[in-house]
């Protein structure tokens, strides 16, 4: 029974490892040595797709690409030396060669027409290329360094443990104060406004560990509990990120004065293809002139006039302003919307800041109405119609089957967008056997 001693070292663990996992290793393409035919003259080399089942040694390496610390250090040295060489090649000063200069130099030296930006040649600091990994977790004698190593998620559980410890300390402190009668309900510092908890991805990055949704939820709950107990300290702040303030200040137009001394303010608005410019006078009777025509005649439909009414109605200034506006483009509804937007913006100059905030909250200034003219799936909008996909794919397949097409380095270059994948989906598994003719 004591035969298979698992606690020993490498030999047994290797045996455990080697057991079953000859999995579907990524297929490697091998160039077969050209079978040189005895006939003199042009040789035809054929590329065959060959599946090689990787040996057991490789499976171990492929599954977990561990980069040792030495390897990363070497990569960093090579990167720095390469950076200097590159600067010399471009005729610039190696000392002040920044990452942007590197990117420009690489784009110049290795121009690429690949659509996928991530597939283009890149030269970046190794820390941005090689994923952050944990170093080996145990020492020479096999004893792990961290006391929670055997849980699998040592950083996460260690964090939870420390947080809980802090909660207990706070409670103990509170109990002591209460026993002495010194405890008072101090106002909790509300320095949490304008910040949010880390999102799950950020936490994973911080701990260099994969987390589940439940783990993350538990973490947030524990942090909230810590906050309830006492004032937020640096410990909690390290898990919060500031949130960019949402209230974008609406630029308020300056009030101008015309020849008669009447105060007015001008502003523009756009809706779909309609452009409008509105001049709102501070004092008036509620008359609106559009392109010189009275609004009742310009917009016979009630719905459009209601749109014009809205900004004033919201601020209770229905009959108090005169408006003169010009509008062009779009249909009647679009023009009405454009004028409405222009008037709302112009009104800001005559109105208190609070009311401006209210208008912002009611989306008076927002320009995110649905544009029905553009399809929401923007990817397809620039591509040719669906039927032409099928034509192109079938042509490609027929051509390759006949062996007449030339193999292209960039298959996506001939057809726009995602046609390659589209062909794949439509035709099922397409095995392209492309012959390389070579004269």
């Amino acid at each position: 029974m004591a035969a298979s001693c698992v606690s020993c070292g490498a030999v047994v663990s290797q045996r455990l490892l080697l057991r079953p996992r000859v999995s579907l290793a990524p297929r490697q393409v091998l160039w077969r040595a050209a079978e040189l035919q005895s006939v003199p003259g042009p040789q035809i080399l054929r590329l065959k797709h060959v599946t090689v089942v990787t040996t057991k040694k490789n499976v171990k390496a492929l599954r977990r690409e561990t980069y040792t610390v030495d390897f990363i250090k070497k990569q960093i040295e090579e990167f720095n030396i390469g950076k200097r060489h590159l600067a010399n090649m471009m005729g610039e000063d190696p000392e002040t060669f920044t990452q942007e200069d590197i990117d420009r130099a690489i784009a110049y030296l290795f121009p690429s027409g690949l659509f996928e930006k991530r597939a283009r040649p890149v030269m970046k600091h190794p820390e941005q290329i090689f994923p952050k990994q944990k170093a080996t977790q145990w020492g020479e004698d096999g004893r792990p360094f961290h006391y929670l190593f055997y849980t699998g998620k040592q950083s996460y559980y260690s964090l939870m443990h420390d947080t809980y410890g802090k909660i207990l300390d706070i409670e103990k402190h509170k109990n002591q104060l209460q026993a002495k009668g010194l405890f008072s309900e101090k106002d909790k510092t509300t320095d949490l406004i304008g910040s949010r908890w880390l999102i799950k991805e950020e936490l994973e990055e911080m701990l260099v560990e994969k987390l589940s949704d439940q783990d993350y939820a538990q973490f947030v709950r524990l942090m909230e509990r810590l906050l309830q107990g006492g004032a937020a300290g640096e410990f909690v702040q390290s898990f919060r990120r500031s949130v960019t303030v949402q209230s974008e200040k609406q630029p308020i137009e300056p009030v101008q004065h015309d020849a008669q001394g009447m105060a007015f303010s001008t502003s523009e608005g756009r809706r779909k293809s309609a452009k409008a410019e509105a001049v709102v006078y501070e004092h008036g009777n509620g008359r609106i002139k559009i392109n010189g025509i009275d609004y009742l005649l310009y917009f016979p439909v009630l719905q459009d006039r209601e749109q014009l009414m809205f900004p004033f109605h919201f601020l209770d200034r229905l009959g108090k302003h005169d408006v003169t506006c010009t509008v062009s483009g779009g249909g009647r509804s679009a023009q009405a919307g454009a004028i409405r937007l222009a008037m709302a913006r112009a009104l800001c100059s005559f109105v208190t800041e609070e009311e401006v905030e209210w208008m912002r909250q009611v989306n008076s200034f927002a320009h995110i109405w649905n544009d029905v003219s553009r399809s929401s799936t923007a990817m397809h909008s620039n591509l040719p119609h669906k039927s032409s996909f099928r034509l192109d794919c079938s042509r490609l397949i027929r051509a390759s089957a006949n062996g007449r097409s030339r193999a292209r380095r960039e298959p996506a270059g001939s057809l726009p967008g995602r046609s390659a994948e589209y062909c794949q989906e439509r035709r099922g598994r397409v095995h392209l056997r492309v012959a390389n003719t070579h004269q």
């Binding site: 698992v6 606690s7 455990l16 490892l17 977790q137 096999g142 792990p144 006391y147 055997y150 998620k153």
Partner: protein
């Protein structure tokens, strides 16, 4: 009455289990030249490993010559167990059939655990823990009781060992190379402060440790199954004083064992040096021996 102490403790002779050899292989000794070195190194290599392993043997066999080398008996008494409420079990309806031998009786339908037996089992368990810690084994504290999770993790950290009081992933012990990394070393002893998990079922690690031939020490309450636990300790696992007592005992014992190891090693190294110096002037033809003893395994 207390059952007779099993022969393991009473006799000094401890049949060397295979694990002993395994641990020897695992812990790296001095940089012993491998079998492949040739030439002049071979001559020095002959005396080196022998002297080193002699010391190692003596260090490891020393505790086995005494019944209670680490004097764990003095750490507790039946009275202290009683004061910590270790004798309180669950209600009679929760009783597990295999715990009946350990139950003294039942008072107002609550089972009372026999502390005389507990004392015996606890001594065995603590002694075994001490021996494992002395031999630099990895000890893993396992529990799934959320009330004491923090305490147990602190205990483990304080004595330099490991704890797992969280969700136990499926193949952690049985599929460790995949989950924890290739070449990982498994624990040499698993201590269960609570044998049951949150749904009152036996903890998966009890079965898995038995599968992986890892000895187990477990505090078994009246509703637990003591079968697969190597050194069961019948006792209360629900009251805070009881769990605190057990944590304190394990921590003390492990620290003591590690301290003892350091002392014994230092002692033997000194003795070895003195012996070598004594022999030195009379026997100058063996410089290699002295060098090897000086280099001595700093384990």
């Amino acid at each position: 009455m207390a059952p007779a102490l099993p022969r393991l403790l009473s006799a000094g002779a401890w049949p060397r289990p295979l694990r002993l050899h395994v641990l020897q292989a695992a812990t790296p000794g001095p940089a012993r030249p491998s079998g492949r070195t040739l030439g002049s190194a071979a001559a020095a290599a002959v005396s080196d490993p022998q002297a080193g392993s002699d010391l190692q043997d003596r260090v490891l066999s020393e505790p086995l010559k005494h019944a209670d080398f680490f004097n764990v008996k003095e750490l507790f008494s039946v009275r202290s167990l009683f004061d910590a409420r270790v004798h309180l079990g669950h209600k009679a309806g929760c009783r597990h059939r295999f715990m009946e031998p350990y139950i003294f009786g039942s008072r107002l339908d609550q089972d009372i655990i026999d502390l005389e037996q507990t004392a015996v089992h606890l001594q065995l368990a603590l002694n075994f823990t001490a021996h494992v810690a002395y031999r630099k084994g990895i000890v893993l504290f396992v529990s799934r009781h959320r009330q004491f999770s923090h305490l147990i993790e602190n205990t483990a950290r304080d004595c330099g060992e490991y704890a797992h009081t969280r969700y136990f992933k499926g193949g952690l012990l049985t599929n460790a190379p995949l989950l924890l990394g290739p070449g990982v070393r498994l624990p040499d002893l698993v201590i269960f402060l609570h044998t049951l998990n949150n749904v009152f079922e036996p903890h998966v690690a009890v079965r898995d440790a038995a599968k992986m031939n890892i000895p187990t020490v477990g505090i078994v309450d009246t509703n637990c199954n003591p079968c697969l636990v190597t050194y069961p300790v019948p006792g209360n696992d629900d009251s805070p004083p009881a769990v605190q007592l057990f944590c304190r005992l394990f921590r003390t014992v492990i620290s003591r064992a590690k301290e003892k190891r350091r002392q014994v090693e230092a002692l033997y190294r000194l003795q070895g040096q003195e012996g070598a110096e004594g022999r030195g002037p009379a026997d100058p033809a063996l410089p290699g021996t002295q060098a090897s003893l000086d280099a001595g395994p700093s384990l």
